[in-house]
């Protein structure tokens, strides 16, 4: 686990998709490196991962390895452009028709699509796949995004047939009814969890995935390899470029880099270890094989508004003036840009205007004095015990010490961190981050600073609740055309209370093999391997 945990990379990846829905597109433009429209067909793509997938079941998948495989084995109704965040129809023939005041989505399927076993893809298969998410037995981690669908909650107690708000009207038409307008729902239908599987195949998917995507699973040997081959029934005649994909498992990122330099790998499945970053960027032979793109994530500090001394708004404001963001970035190899607000670039709600307080040590000290802490105070900060957190811990400790706040750092294991930070009155400060699940600011607000998330077990580690913020976000979701204005207003209202202090927006960095053509990072998927080709297919 280097820069971010591997799952997190995916999340980060996921974070980013941007754009879309009709008029107000805030997209990141497709940037395909070395792009020529004529890719080469043939060959086998080689990639390696540190960890096995925990499952192949798309309605459950949330780790790095399975995430990449979801893109290759399954189709969603909508998917992202190769290097960008704009959505485009995939299994659907067009973007959804939204009626009923933003509550009714009518979707027509592409004609002639087939699963890799030759059976046609129907609206009933889609309804089955979506309903599975609401069935508690599936243990889907994303059920929270689907409770907006009419009948999802009720389905949990009686999971038979389809969720009442999900109706196949005929073989190729599906209707989804929401309980309230939710402009972000189209992104939810593009998440890996919304991948389409054949009716009734849920139980087999964990081990033997079957979908309608560009590739199908040929073999899986736990701990060793996943082998994919071209799906003979795939509808798209351009993709995939390669005839198959070999995924080696159990390969550490350090070794992945060695194999990539040797030409044995076309792509590292995990992020480059922090410690190897400089050697890679300074390696002249790798220069042309490096890509960077915005991470669609925000790294930030949380200040627990229910715990002393951070229950005092003046103390929180003092912290917001104590941070030197530029200097922090040095501790993460400059892989990011100083945060100017809460929502990162590429996500709807981002504004280039500065919404955060600048470094001002004098002002921070004066605020502390005013708050009754003329000599500062001691407190505790929690973070994960991996990179880049431990580097940032030390830097923040120094910066806060400069204004008189003595911070004791607790760098702890991920699983413990989640539990402690989500328990009321346990963690005065945490250092953490969020990667967009989809490119709409509501994702950040709802998960991190909403009144609904201000509960034990949630991710609102500041235990902050402000109905003004919630109302702006709800307004944005109901009216996508004006959502940016509403999200900016929400961010301003929230940052005025300083429950969190944004630090920086992350950058994603990738190294790819010299034989790879058409390489591009996708903000949500990280990689869409079916869209890459091998310049010399016979070399692999």
């Amino acid at each position: 686990m280097s820069l971010l945990g591997s799952r997190v990379r995916r999340l980060a990846a996921a974070a980013s998709a941007l754009c879309l829905l009709g008029a107000v597109a805030v997209g990141i433009a497709p940037g395909v490196s070395g792009a020529s429209s004529n890719g080469v067909h043939g060959g086998t793509f080689q990639i390696a991962f540190q960890s096995d997938p925990t499952t192949f079941d798309p309605q459950v998948c949330y780790d790095a390895t399975c995430w990449d495989n979801m893109e290759m084995i399954f189709n969603r109704l909508y998917d992202y452009q190769t290097g960008g965040t704009a959505l485009q129809p995939e299994a659907a023939v067009a973007m959804p028709k939204v009626t009923g005041g933003g509550k009714v989505y009518t979707i027509t399927l592409r004609a002639g699509m087939k699963f890799s076993n030759g059976k046609p893809v129907t609206a009933a298969d889609v309804a089955y796949s979506f309903s599975r998410i609401c069935d508690p037995a599936t243990k889907s981690p994303v059920v929270g995004f689907w409770t907006v669908v009419a009948g999802c909650n009720a389905y949990a107690s009686n999971p038979t047939g389809y969720v009442s708000g999900i109706k196949p009207l005929n073989a190729t038409t599906l209707q989804v009814t929401l309980t309230q307008p939710d402009a972000a729902f189209v992104y939810v239908m593009a998440m890996p969890h919304a991948s389409i599987i054949p009716s009734g195949s849920g139980a087999q998917q964990a081990k033997s995935p079957l979908g309608s995507g560009p590739y199908e699973l040929a073999s899986y040997t736990p701990g060793q390899s996943i082998v994919l081959k071209k799906n003979p029934y795939y509808w798209n005649k351009t993709y995939p470029y390669t005839d198959g994909v070999n995924e080696k498992l159990g390969v550490s990122p350090q070794v992945q880099l060695l194999e990539l330099e040797k030409g044995q790998l076309d792509l590292m499945g995990d992020t480059l270890p922090n410690s190897d970053y400089l050697s890679v960027v300074n390696n002249p032979s790798l220069k042309k094989q490096i890509a960077t793109s915005p991470g669609l994530d925000t790294y930030y500090l949380t200040l627990n508004t229910k715990m002393k001394p951070f229950n005092n708004p003046l103390v929180r404001e003092a912290v917001s003036y104590a941070i030197n963001r530029k200097s922090l970035l040095k501790y993460v190899n400059g892989q990011g840009t100083p945060a100017t607000g809460f929502i990162p670039p590429g996500v709807k709600g981002y504004t280039p205007k500065n919404l955060v307080n600048p470094l001002d040590v004098k002002k921070a000290k004066a605020l502390l004095k005013q708050a009754g802490y003329p000599h500062g105070f001691s407190t505790s900060m929690y973070s994960w015990n991996t990179q880049p957190w431990t580097n940032l811990d030390a830097a923040l400790q120094q910066q806060l010490a400069a204004v008189g706040i003595k911070v004791q750092v607790h760098a702890i294991q991920e699983s413990t961190f989640f539990t402690l930070a989500a328990t009321p009155n346990k963690t005065p400060m945490t250092l953490t981050f969020w990667v967009a699940d989809f490119p709409d600011g509501s994702d950040f607000f709802n998960a991190l600073v909403s009144c609904a998330a201000d509960v034990p077990g949630g991710q609102n580690y500041s235990f902050y609740c402000n109905h003004t913020v919630d109302n702006f976000v709800a307004k944005g979701l109901a009216n996508p055309a004006a959502a940016t204005t509403d999200y900016v207003a929400a961010a301003k209202a929230m940052l005025a209370n300083n429950p969190i202090v944004p630090l920086y927006f992350g950058t994603r960095f990738a190294v790819f093999g010299k034989n790879v053509g058409g390489f591009a990072q996708n903000p949500i998927w990280a990689y869409m391997i079916d869209r890459f080709w091998l310049k010399n297919p016979s070399a692999n």
Partner: protein
């Protein structure tokens, strides 16, 4: 003898039961929610709660422990929380052969390098061979396995493509040479020193002198008297090494990408996969007590003075 075996067996079962219970208790003492790890960092509190219910984590620890014991008595190690649809037993069964091959390889290196070098060094004290062996042992003992492993990969697999860089394949032995060497070299260094010391002691014993006086060839003395004596402590430790290695050797397995029990255990701890934690811990405990037992039995074969009986 039969009584002794029965008593030892009962002890072994008790030890394994105790270890597994401790593992179970510790897994629950960690202030972390396994359901959160299953759901992922971005899941909503509702999703986490729903998953906790599905996994039975909303029941009391006692009731979970009792159903765990009930399953265990039926030989059922349970189903992984994290790895979907996979049983603990099948995961361990898949991983164990790799760990076993690696462990045997490691012990083999310990024997093949450690014992001859120790014996030769003892026969030729302060010779060039002895000094080289001393220096080599110092290196072998001080080189951390993660460093040595990476160096071997870099030079012998990456620079000169003598061995595969990573993973397992066919023939398996080819993929295990570097990892098992890395695993065994520290022990080999240690044993060479130990064997050297014991052999030196034995060589100074009156019975060796007697054997020489009666004209027994040096080779027979070595085989019949010296080695037997020198091996006694080595056998104990080799047995314990093997038991320990079979429980999984995480660092070696992860550096070389070997899908063994160590990696399985590590991943399960990181994700608080309780059934997998207890399963892998149990495997480690079983091998440890089993090897202990085998060592005791082997003792009697090497040294007839050691008898297995009550009160030993």
């Amino acid at each position: 003898m039969i009584g002794w075996v029965a008593r030892r067996f009962a002890q072994m079962v008790l030890v394994v039961f105790g270890v597994v219970t401790l593992a179970f208790v510790f897994a629950y003492l960690v202030p972390a929610n396994p359901a959160r790890m299953v759901a992922g960092p971005q899941a909503s509190p509702q999703a986490v709660a729903s998953i906790a219910r599905q996994l039975g984590l909303d029941r009391s620890v006692w009731s979970q422990y009792l159903s765990f014991l009930g399953r265990l008595l039926h030989g059922n190690l349970g189903v992984s929380f994290v790895l979907q649809g996979r049983t603990v037993a099948s995961e361990i069964a898949t991983a164990l052969p790799y760990t076993a091959a690696l462990a045997l390889g490691g012990v083999l290196w310990e024997i093949v390098l450690g014992i001859p070098v120790g014996v030769i060094a003892a026969y030729r004290p302060r010779s060039v061979i002895d000094r080289v062996a001393t220096f080599g042992a110092l290196l072998g003992l001080s080189a951390p396995p993660f460093w040595l492993g990476l160096m071997l990969i870099y030079f012998l697999a990456y620079k000169v493509s003598l061995f595969p860089i990573n993973g397992v394949g066919h023939p398996l032995i080819w993929y295990l040479i570097l990892p098992s060497f890395t695993l065994g070299v520290g022990g080999a260094a240690f044993y060479s020193r130990m064997v050297r010391t014991t052999v030196r002691q034995v060589l100074r014993s009156p019975f060796i002198e007697f054997a020489r006086l009666k004209g027994m060839p040096e080779r027979t003395i070595l085989g019949r008297h010296v080695i037997r004596h020198a091996l006694l402590p080595v056998v104990t430790m080799l047995g314990m090494d093997l038991g320990y290695f079979l429980g999984g050797v995480l660092i070696i397995e992860s550096i070389f990408g070997i899908p063994g029990v160590g990696q399985l255990a590590y991943a399960s701890i990181a994700t608080i996969d309780i059934p997998m934690i207890t399963g892998t811990v149990m495997v480690a405990a079983v091998f440890m007590v089993l090897m202990n037992f085998i060592v005791d039995v082997t003792y009697t074969l090497i040294d007839p003075r050691v008898r297995l009986r009550r009160g030993r």
